[in-house]
């Protein structure tokens, strides 16, 4: 396909049209040669953030490895919607074993490649937040501490969406799920530290840890690219809004991911061997309410009377993140 030169108008300073960039700086998604690793025709919901994230990540990883990439998948939405027998959307070698074991399976694949002397072929494992922060955590921690040569990608939509939206260890405070009803004095998911997996990954001091969202494509692709230049255990945590579970409009997936980052609730950073090396600064900060309001899982916070007290507690989490990671652009 010939690349057409199209003139775009820039919108302020915040939305550089991809095609205004030099060709070398354009995203893999803009390339006619992209693998389309997760091909069309799959059965994800409209506006699925995970489908978007997986395609972004895998296409970038396929490019970074010159097409020599094997993928291991945990059980979950991504696995179910992509491979209803006898169809498969995967345009690369792909293995699904169980819910909890994707990191260990990937370790085994990496070990096999090493034993066969195939250091040109790379391994990427992927799962949702349930498969990663909850049921798969032991296997993931083992993969980290052994520094196995795997990039593990968590697509975090903050609950068990495949089974009908139940709370996971990644569900944020006060979010309604099917197992955290929006009733009582502290409605929705309980407030606490939650399970902050990027920080758990940092504690393993593995070569690379990064977070990203589906709203910042250049950032996400650059992180995948960087991860694939390294060896050893690497972890990428991608926020992927879920219209079904969050009660948001399918068209709002990218907007919500951006608001999550700009509110400070989802810090976007990268780290090397346990030390933060870069953050995606917040250029125009938004109050958390702006991010929460479009999501029906938080509708109880905005009812009459609104739960200002709970919103303040969520705002405090965002403020703490901004301080901790130095997210506010000077």
């Amino acid at each position: 396909m010939a690349v057409q030169s199209v003139k775009f108008y820039q919108v302020g300073s915040r939305a550089v049209g991809n095609r205004l960039l030099e060709e070398a700086l354009r995203t893999e998604q803009a390339s006619p040669a992209r693998r389309n690793a997760l091909n069309s025709g799959h059965r994800a919901c409209q506006g699925c953030g995970e489908a978007l994230g997986a395609r972004y990540v895998l296409d970038a990883a396929v490019r970074a490895t010159g097409g020599k990439l094997l993928a291991v998948n945990a059980t979950g939405c991504l696995e179910v919607f992509s491979t209803p027998y006898p169809e498969s959307s995967w345009q690369l070698p792909w293995l699904h074993s169980l819910f909890a074991n994707a990191p260990s399976v990937a370790s085994g694949v990496a070990a096999a490649l090493k034993a066969q002397g195939r250091d040109d072929v790379r391994v990427l494992a992927q799962g949702g937040d349930g498969g990663t922060v909850d049921i798969g955590l032991a296997c993931l921690s083992g993969m980290f501490e052994r520094n196995d040569d795997v990039l593990y990608v968590c697509y975090d939509n903050e609950a068990y969406m495949n089974t009908g939206v139940q709370r996971s260890g990644s569900t944020p405070p006060f979010a309604r799920t099917a197992t955290t009803e929006a009733t009582g004095p502290e409605p929705g998911a309980p407030i606490g530290q939650g399970k902050d997996l990027p920080r758990i990954a940092l504690a393993h001091e593995i070569p690379y840890v990064a977070t990203a969202t589906v709203a910042e494509l250049h950032d996400l692709e650059a992180k995948v690219e960087r991860a694939m230049t390294m060896r050893g255990a690497r972890y990428l945590h991608v926020l992927v809004p879920c219209p079904l579970g969050w009660g948001s409009a399918p068209a709002d997936t990218v907007r919500l991911a951006r608001l999550a980052q700009r509110s400070g609730l989802f810090p976007v950073f990268e780290a090397s061997h346990g030390e933060i090396t870069a953050v995606l600064p917040i250029r125009s900060r938004v109050p958390v309410a702006e991010y929460l309001r479009p999501q029906r899982r938080y509708a109880h916070l905005f009812a009459e009377p609104p739960r200002i007290d709970l919103l303040e507690r969520i705002q405090a989490i965002a403020d703490r993140n901004i301080g901790r990671y130095g997210l506010q652009e000077a």
Binding site: V80, S97, N101, A111
Partner: protein, 409 residues
């Protein structure tokens, strides 16, 4: 060359000569010596081209073996007891995906109560996980079965579990012959997978299958597993020492035949020698179940005693259910004898009494527990009748038995 070797060491050397490429390992008694020895061989270079992974659980060990096998590598691991149960989900997955992994189970009891000693509760609990199950009667068989296991697994694309009695075999030192590298190489060709993750020929392995084809996929698992009934004897024919699927001993003209699996077979044969008119049938292969061979071996027996090293609570026997099915339509009486649980010795004296009970007609089709301490269980049952808060069984039984240290304070 015969050498004085520990069973675990000999198994490790046999496995090493099968040139495994990935060995994920997690320690559990009484299996640990096997993976320790393999790890040492990888470290000192005598087992080249092998990745040894010290993983964080048995579930991870089997999962890494799944990944390695799907990536085209020969994969092996070993476990026992709780470890086997902890990897149960991955066992079903490995067989469902048709990955030819070889696993040693150093047979050990399953808790509670926790018990590290030998019986076969662990592997019997995984009877239906879709793996070939081979039981070694002695350490030489254990060594040889591992070589055959790799060949069988890879020929059929099914995983194979080699069950070796914990301690009794794994920790026993005896003169053993570990096959030479040349002999193993001649017997076992390099692994040629039916399916592999290959960047030049991408496939999706582990797709979701709904009602439209799930039965067919499961049927094919059954079909492939059943092929072992013909493939295994053919492979054994090409091996340097005789190996059986079903070993029949003194069965000709014997009215009473004892059926068993594993190392207890030796003791049973000694008792059979004393009687002279008692046969012994030892099953090496338990899955797939060799119905025709068992029926043939039990021939005209009138009384069949199935000596089981495991218990199906609420039902009784596990092996005897299959033996009965194999003998369906015959007049043979089949009894179930649960023996040697959690490391209790199966003595010749107890077996003599058992055979005498069978010959007298008392045993019939009963379910009996060999050497059960009736006094102890009756006291505990009585205690439960008298007191709601009767406490843990284990504590009550140990107190009644007067085991020192059973009383706290």
């Amino acid at each position: 060359m015969r050498r004085q070797l520990e069973g675990s060491r000999a198994i490790a050397e046999a496995v090493a000569r099968c040139r495994p490429q990935v060995v994920p390992a997690y320690p559990i008694t009484p299996q640990t010596h096997i993976v320790e020895a393999i790890g040492a061989m990888v470290r000192n270079g005598s087992l080249a081209g092998c990745e040894f992974l010290t993983v964080e659980s048995e579930f991870a060990a089997m999962s890494a073996a799944i990944g390695a096998s799907a990536a085209g590598a020969r994969a092996y691991t070993a476990t026992a007891s709780q470890g086997l149960l902890y990897m149960a989900e991955a066992l079903f997955n490995a067989s469902g995906l048709g990955l030819p992994i070889v696993l040693t189970v150093a047979n050990r009891a399953v808790g509670a109560p926790i018990n590290i000693w030998n019986d076969q509760s662990d592997s019997m609990s995984q009877r239906d996980c879709g793996w070939v199950q081979l039981y070694a009667a002695d350490n030489q068989a254990a060594v040889d079965l591992h070589v055959v296991a790799f060949a069988l697994a890879e020929e059929l694309s099914v995983p194979v579990m080699v069950c070796v009695d914990g301690f009794v075999l794994t920790h026993a030192f005896e003169p053993l012959e570990v096959p030479e590298q040349d002999a193993v190489d001649a017997f076992l060709p390099p692994y040629a997978p039916r399916q592999v993750l290959d960047v030049d020929d991408p496939v999706a392995i582990g797709a979701m299958v709904g009602p439209e084809a799930f039965t067919e996929v499961r049927y094919l698992s059954h079909y492939q597993l059943s092929q072992a009934l013909t493939a295994y004897p053919q492979l054994c024919d090409g091996w340097q020492r005789p190996l059986s699927m079903v070993d029949a001993y003194r069965v000709d003209g014997a009215d009473t035949v004892v059926v068993t699996l594993g190392s207890v077979s030796g003791t049973v044969k000694e008792v059979a020698d004393e009687f002279g008119n008692v046969g012994v049938v030892t099953l090496t292969m338990f899955r797939p179940f060799p119905y025709a061979e068992v029926r043939k071996a039990l021939g005209a027996a009138k009384r069949v005693i199935v000596l089981e090293r495991a218990l199906a609570p609420g039902a009784g026997g596990i092996v005897s259910a299959d033996v009965r099915a194999a003998l369906s339509g015959t007049l043979a009486e089949v009894s179930t004898v649960v023996a040697g649980l959690g490391g209790r010795a199966v003595t010749r004296a107890a077996l003599r009494r058992l055979v005498a009970d069978a010959m007298s007609g008392w045993l019939g089709e009963r379910l009996v527990f060999l050497d059960l301490r009736d006094d102890l269980v009756e006291q505990q049952i009585d205690r439960m009748r008298q007191r709601r808060a009767s406490g843990p069984h284990a504590l009550g039984l140990l107190r009644d038995a007067g085991i020192p240290g059973s009383r706290i304070g």
